[in-house]
Every structure is written in structure tokens, then in C-alpha cells.
């Protein structure tokens, strides 16, 4: 289960809405071993595409180094789908390289109602998990 503060959920949705129709992506870092997302980091989608996303490699190195220095890990890795449901695509599954992260998908295909779901993706196997939003 992903337990996450309301303001962090709102930040992901706002980012996804702002970049629509391109996919938005980012990370929420948290203390190592806590499984608690805390520090919201918007990443640039180097692809600037409505169907694909990729963290900019230089920005990713900088952010991963910061997390290392802070004893943090990427607790949440999020991205948006702008025309399809919030379920990992085949490419999402083949790239998923952080077995301990919660992969959060936000769909902005409906202009009024967003859809937000969370998954573990380990060795190509997708497992959806409940999302518990706590008031911040």
C-alpha cells in the first residue's frame, strides 16, 4: 500500500494537468527504509511527448546524488498518461528499474476527473496496490 499526503497527490495531479497533453514525470523522495514519500521533485520529460517520457539523464544524476547525500530513496516515481488509463504500458514495465519504488500513474484523459493509481513493478510483474491519502 502507498501511504501519501494529500498535498503530494495534489502536486502530482497539478504537474500532470500543467504538462497535458505531454506526459509529466517526477519523483517523490523519502528517507531510506521509511517507505514514506516526502520531498516532491518535478523532473523534466526529456521526450516532451504525449506518448513517452524519459528523465533527462543529467538531471537524474543530479537528483539521485542529492538523494544519496540525504539518505533518501525514490519512494514514488510518477508519470502521467494523457490519453489512456492510469495503468502501466508495456514500455513502462520494460523500463521499470526501481523494484522498491511505488510507480504512480496519473491519467489526465478526462479534463475534469483525474485517475491516480499505484503499482509495484518487479521483474516485469505489475501489482496494483491501494493508495491511502492522509490529510496534510
Amino acid at each position: 500500500m502507498l501511504v501519501i499526503r494529500r498535498d503530494l497527490v495534489d502536486a502530482m495531479v497539478a504537474h500532470a494537468r500543467r504538462d497535458h497533453p505531454d506526459e509529466a514525470c517526477g519523483v517523490i523522495a523519502g528517507p531510506y527504509g521509511s517507505d514514506r514519500p516526502e520531498r516532491f521533485i518535478e523532473m523534466e520529460n526529456a521526450e516532451r511527448s504525449p506518448t513517452f517520457y524519459r528523465f533527462d539523464a543529467a538531471e537524474q544524476l543530479k537528483v539521485w546524488r542529492e538523494m544519496d547525500a540525504n539518505d533518501e530513496v525514490p519512494v514514488v516515481i510518477y508519470h502521467s498518461h494523457t490519453a489512456t488509463e492510469a495503468y502501466p504500458s508495456r514500455t513502462d514495465i520494460s523500463f521499470a528499474g526501481e523494484p522498491e519504488a511505488h510507480y504512480v500513474l496519473v491519467s489526465t484523459r478526462d479534463p475534469d476527473e483525474h485517475e491516480l493509481r499505484s503499482y509495484r513493478i518487479v521483474d516485469g510483474v505489475v501489482t496494483e496496490e491501494p493508495v491511502k491519502i492522509i490529510e496534510s
Binding site: 514525470c25 519523483v27 523532473m43 521526450e47 506518448t51 513517452f52 517520457y53 524519459r54 528523465f55 539523464a57 543529467a58 537524474q60 544524476l61 539521485w64 516515481i77 508519470h79 502501466p88 504500458s89 508495456r90 514500455t91 513502462d92 514495465i93 520494460s94 523500463f95 521499470a96 528499474g97 526501481e98 523494484p99 522498491e100
Partner: protein, 90 residues
């Protein structure tokens, strides 16, 4: 020529859980061959058909090797090689 290589979580099964290991070589290709000798299975996770796998980013110091020759990128004694899973999808 020894360099330090940072290993991401997903590849640490090949290094007995170690976060960083040392390797030697003068190019990234040699470093990866040396890694493979000591930590079998790593090479297949990094290289496909003679080029770096698109699922990983490899940096020598702070430079993404995609812009500095890929597997032919030169490494010097004391350099830091960092491997990160590319974060991407559709």
C-alpha cells in the same frame, strides 16, 4: 587503472549487495568486461548487441557516456563510473 563503479539497487544481486565496486580498464567497455569477470551477469544487464542498453544510464564522473563515445568512452585512474536505471516509459 582502477575506477569506482556505483551499482544501482536493481543490479546489486550481481555484486552481493555492494553499492559500489572497483574495476579496471581504460575504456568503459574494458571496465564492463572486468566487472563481468568479478560479478557475472552484469554485462548482459548493461550491454546489448555491442552497445549500451537503453534501460541504463552510465556516467563517467558527471558525464553521460552517450555523449562521450558510449562503450569507447575513456576512463582514467580514480574516475567514478555511475550506473543508474533509465527512468522512462510510455
Amino acid at each position: 587503472m582502477a575506477v569506482t563503479v556505483s551499482i544501482p539497487t536493481i543490479l546489486r544481486t550481481h555484486t552481493g549487495g555492494e553499492k559500489s565496486v572497483s574495476a579496471s580498464g581504460t575504456t568503459l567497455a574494458e571496465i564492463i568486461d572486468d566487472l563481468e569477470n568479478n560479478h557475472g551477469g552484469l554485462k548482459a544487464r548493461l550491454v546489448k548487441e555491442g552497445t549500451l542498453h537503453r534501460f541504463v544510464n552510465v556516467y563517467v564522473n558527471d558525464e553521460d557516456v552517450r555523449f562521450s563515445g558510449g562503450l569507447a568512452a575513456e576512463v582514467k585512474d580514480g574516475d567514478n563510473v555511475t550506473i543508474l536505471p533509465a527512468v522512462a516509459g510510455g
